[in-house]
Symmetry: C2
Subunit: 197 residues, 2 copies
Amino acid sequence: MAGILFVISGPSGVGKSTVRKEVMKRCSGLRYSISCTTRPPREGEINGVDYLFVDLSTFEAMKRQGEFLEWARVHGNYYGTPRKPIEEWLKKGEDVILEIDVQGAKQVKKNFKGGVFIFIAPPSLKALEERLKKRNTDREDEILLRMTNARIEMQCISDYDYLVVNDQLEEAVNKLLSIIIAERCRIRKPHFWGGEK
Amino acid sequence: MAGILFVISGPSGVGKSTVRKEVMKRCSGLRYSISCTTRPPREGEINGVDYLFVDLSTFEAMKRQGEFLEWARVHGNYYGTPRKPIEEWLKKGEDVILEIDVQGAKQVKKNFKGGVFIFIAPPSLKALEERLKKRNTDREDEILLRMTNARIEMQCISDYDYLVVNDQLEEAVNKLLSIIIAERCRIRKPHFWGGEK
């Protein structure tokens, strides 16, 4: 049986990485797909662990060669999800977790009808803005851009299967874990993966 | 928003009650719908807690008056689910858990398109037979009947949304809990409850 593709998405600054990393500590049998990005590493980020940091020309070459399951330009930087490892893991029956932006999730949804799409939302837009300011990794104009995008992205919630509000971290982690356990118990109908490319 | 109807079903002797009771201890906001039955109480069973124990003529009067959401004759006894409390809880936004046999679940599925149907299965038919014998509440011919029915009931799994194999109790409880938490995070599409009668 094919593995399950879990797609975690939501506005920038909502805490996708924190929730996802905590879930992966507590849940075995989950493969994490590392994204490529042209964005410079933030403090503490490690190449090959958090992202594959590449320059623009490398990114464009990969794009031309069809190596991305999805790619997007977000806040002036490029992000892409390498296709090959994901397809191989799923084929072997291993579950895969993707952590990507809302634009990217939309592209993945077109290609993987059987994917499980989880939206991580802030308790409010005001709370999101405070987090972005506290994170202190973005300039003020970047924060404004992220907030504008967040407003648009929040309208996409109804395209997702699950909504997890990240108010208390522990609760959000527990909800995401529960979704993974539940989906592993879900009875998948025949041709469930018929939409898979 | 309407509450969620969780329907727990599976062969007789699989441990539905044990799993369900343990889940209800750990999960708040779940209403349990007590079934009516003409079956005599087993040792330790309390009227109004485990079942509403009624005689055949009371059961038939309730049936005539349309008071059951579903009813079935199982192993020579009648079982029925009173409709009214469930409909009222769901309307008030409270989640409801039903623990019923496979025939009954089939009837509920026709009436509640938005219900969440969970099949509790034994690790094997051999294991189920051993449990029924160990339970020591049924005569040998009753056990034979339960096993014949179990074989038929196991074919209905694909009509369900989730499968929980009750091998280790703690694991089965955790899975059922996860399904409830996950379903509470699920984004319900418009007209989700359109199928509700």
